[in-house]
Amino acid sequence: MRKLTIPFIGLSAGMFLVAPWIINAAPYESTMGLVQKVFYFHFPAAILYMTAAVVCGVNSARVLFWKNKNADAWAVAAAELGFLFGALTLVTGPLWARKAWGVWWVWDVRLTTSLVLWMIFGAYMLLRQYGGPGSDRLAAGMALFGMANVPFIYFSVNVWRTLHPMTSVVPTLPTEFGIPLWFCFAAFAMLFTALLHLRATLEHQRLRVEELYLAEDEA
């Protein structure tokens, strides 16, 4: 699996290098103009942000309810990636909004729930790092709340009045906008998968190091 990870990162790096030319070739959106091009990085980052919350939540449930120790490494990996992709989403979004809406931020449901999820990931990481014994189970419980937040983030734009575009925008995109979007999405998704695997491997090896130190102490 490790052998596949490096080519995945290389391929996605290549796609990230080619992406500006593909994005540049896409037509300008009629009302927003150039700033709409932030969308090609904002959307994939946001989808993978929510994916990370689901991966973290599912693996935390496996830890809590099925006592699966292996799942904990995947939950930690997903939480760290969720924090990273959340930062990408929460930075690129306001940069786009400043031009499109005239403000950096509005406290509407989509933006607020996204920020709450990012804070949950931040709290999860702080808890894992500094919480002491038992913090893994407490963090796993917190990850379940993070996962429960995802449907609110995704469907909020359809349920409540908001400035944010609705979920129907992407499926109805014209082809000339869709090609760069799905190209960027593929690059982000490959990188996400490779980084998730690398981070989980790192966590497994870190646990192995801890076990070896404990064995040394007992010997």
């Binding site: 950096w104 931020w105 920020l115 990012w118 980084l195 064995a215």
Partner: protein
Amino acid sequence: MRLFRVLTMLLALSAVPAIAADQPQPPKEFVPVDEVPPGEQIPAINLVAAAYGFVWIALLGYVWSIARRLKTVEAELADLESRRR
């Protein structure tokens, strides 16, 4: 070092709401780009460049961080396993 990391993370977690709380009232509906007062206009190219630049730097930084941590833990693991034999 630990205190610095905690403070950095707390600062990052509180930065967005702190900035957001200081925003002017949002418009009630979409305002076309050319109707925003000239004083409030930021060239779109600056915003797009900032967005793409941030994404690239953050992703590169994370890949570098993972590679560095993996290298350290693999060296430690190899050392411990050789001591066991």
